[in-house]
Subunit: 136 residues, 2 copies
Amino acid sequence: MDNLQMLKNANLKATPQRLAILKVLKKHIHPNIDELYEEIKKENPSISLATVYKNLDTLVESKIAIEINTPNLKTKYDIYEHPHAHVVCQKCGFTQDLMDDVSNIVNHQSQLEQKIGKNIDNFSVVATIDGCQNCS
Amino acid sequence: MDNLQMLKNANLKATPQRLAILKVLKKHIHPNIDELYEEIKKENPSISLATVYKNLDTLVESKIAIEINTPNLKTKYDIYEHPHAHVVCQKCGFTQDLMDDVSNIVNHQSQLEQKIGKNIDNFSVVATIDGCQNCS
DNA sequence: CTATTTGCAAACCCTTTGCAAAAAT
DNA sequence: ATTTTTGCAAAGGGTTTGCAAATAG
């Protein structure tokens, strides 16, 4: 969906700052606040970090974005398009998408389902990834 | 295993502070630093928070304890006895153990295994838990 | 005796907050 | 015109660090 429309649907004012955040969220994979901020400043040098913080909170509240909490690292963000799960390396924070079919495998196990429910929004697996491509 | 022995095996000096931390880790489920600190102070009023921080790092490095990273909340700790996984509520941080057989279900899926490896130490699933007993 | 650990206080992040000015509708 | 949002600077909170004194082995 169009960024401007996403904001309108959520009753949020379409400020240049918000549009810039959405643009970067869609172009970069799982950025954290610093990566977002640096990227946005290229086109919008006067944006303040506090504004980025505030807007990320707002976007998450409105379910336009989601947070991916990572161990010891800054929270990462993703656009909430169709819900999908993430696998996060415990050591280095490297984050990968879990395809829908894979998360369904996890999700359809009855015992697991009891614990985590059927809701895979924001679902993330933090694990020691043998041979993580990023840290080993 | 005996707390004193665990420390000796890791070449760590058996200070009263460390023994106190281990004692509390074994008695309380998934405490965060504050819960640990408050509990330890009951018997060891002069311990400093910095010491608790330092020792938790040390214990995790020595694989005597593990960290459970939780969204928006303080890191929780657990004794590393036999490895097991955790399910953490995304909303409230409520943390449950995942029994070995359940984590094996997750673990033995070949696609998932490719991503997360066979190592279930420290494995945690952060998810929105429908009807979480703690937050709903 | 030597190396490690402790406790304190200060430093150091990162994130949030208050508020007046600016901008969106 | 009204309400929301921005940007700044300050405050806040959690964690880490440096160092001298204390302690474990």
